[in-house]
Symmetry: C2
DNA sequence: TGCAAACTTGCAGTGACTGCAAAACAATCC
DNA sequence: GGATTGTTTTGCAGTCACTGCAAGTTTGCA
């Protein structure tokens, strides 16, 4: 009884992880991030506190739902683009694809997260602190495409710009979600692409 | 006994703050950030643990030496540039000036911090989490110069780019400090200015 | 000198997080 | 089916960051 895809064990793990993530976000949105203890979250997900920490290294991580497979997945996407796509575009499109997928799979969670992040913008920054290895993966993928040596700034700078774009976009989206998050990230990355030296033209409809 | 400049009280406060910052950095560099307790830091600086937390909201903040006046100071600089300097340049030059000053005042501290940040790059990211209000200040200053409404992305994106540039630069500097930190930040900001859409030319000498 | 405001301290408490060893459980082999 | 083995869950004891509060101490000022 073991399809290569998913054993009972794997399924249970995924469900537990999801339950913990969901419980964290729901409770935090409901009564404020720091009026929720890990004990309550664990209880809500029907596991012990110790188990919570087997799945997430910290309460912060659970709130964001840090997915350890996201990094590798995006890196793969970057490398999968045809040769004639620029490193910048490969990166940009990969990020956008990931965001689109993520929102399609868990839009409701993100709407709740938005509530929390509006109260505590710092949590979004903190969330990125734990993703140093993922950033390294992405930087390597970009570097490979660009044919640059390990030590070059460009890949790391591009990845850092991605984080910044995402942060900015979420912040804006939290204030006004009439525009899709993906759009906002795309817009921000677009500005990074063309350069910030000149103030972009301010057209009326938008921000 | 009260020159408008500094009272006894003010001087004592500055000294205590500096002692705590210094103790944190020194001990962390010596035996690793998380093998140092706040209790030890406080003892080293000859104050109580409670006093430590009167000065810094967290151990992280003490390590970075988060200066509550840095934000306002940079914002002032940005606004002080003549009209014909672009918002981007005003921002860039203000950041570089701040970094230069900081390094001149506490180069030794930064050399020790470098050691710590090499082991724990996440601490640098976390450090920025606590500076949300400062970022807001800078964004407002940039927005004012650019004549943009509160809601526009540009100012926030530029400031976020600055953080990213700083992060990248410190990381590089930690690996090889043969180039001044200011140079590296300047280089990174330069790339943000001209745009990341194209891979920059890779000239031999450098990175 | 004496009062008021600012700063420091101790204390008691909360809650995140860790290591360890035992129990519960799922996959595998006979 | 039942014994075996590897994985996951759990409880427990402990450490440490951080907070509020209510004294104590120091500084600024009249």
């Amino acid at each position: 009884m073991n399809q290569p895809g998913e054993s009972l064990r794997d399924r249970k793990k995924r469900r537990t992880r999801a339950a913990l993530e969901r419980a964290t976000v729901r409770l935090a949105a409901e009564r404020g991030y720091d009026h929720v203890t890990v004990e309550e979250i664990a209880a809500e997900a029907d596991v012990s506190v110790r188990t919570f920490f087997n799945y997430f290294a910290s309460k912060d991580e659970a709130l964001i739902g840090a997915d350890p497979e996201a990094g590798p997945r995006i890196a793969e996407r970057i490398l999968a683009f045809p040769e004639d796509v620029s490193p910048f575009d490969a990166y940009r499109l990969s990020i956008l694809a990931e965001i689109t997928d993520e929102l399609n799979n868990a839009r409701d969670l993100w709407l709740l997260r938005k509530e929390v992040l509006m109260q505590r913008p710092d949590l979004l920054v903190r969330a990125f602190a734990n993703s140093a290895e993922s950033e390294q993966l992405l930087a390597n993928a970009v570097g490979q495409r660009a044919g640059l040596p390990e030590s070059h700034v460009y890949p790391r700078l591009l990845v850092a710009a991605g984080s910044a774009a995402f942060r900015c976009a979420v912040t804006r989206w939290a204030l006004d979600d009439s525009v899709a998050l993906g759009e906002l990230v795309g817009e921000a990355l677009g500005l990074f692409g063309t350069g910030l030296a000149h103030v972009p033209h301010h057209h009326e409809g938008g921000s």
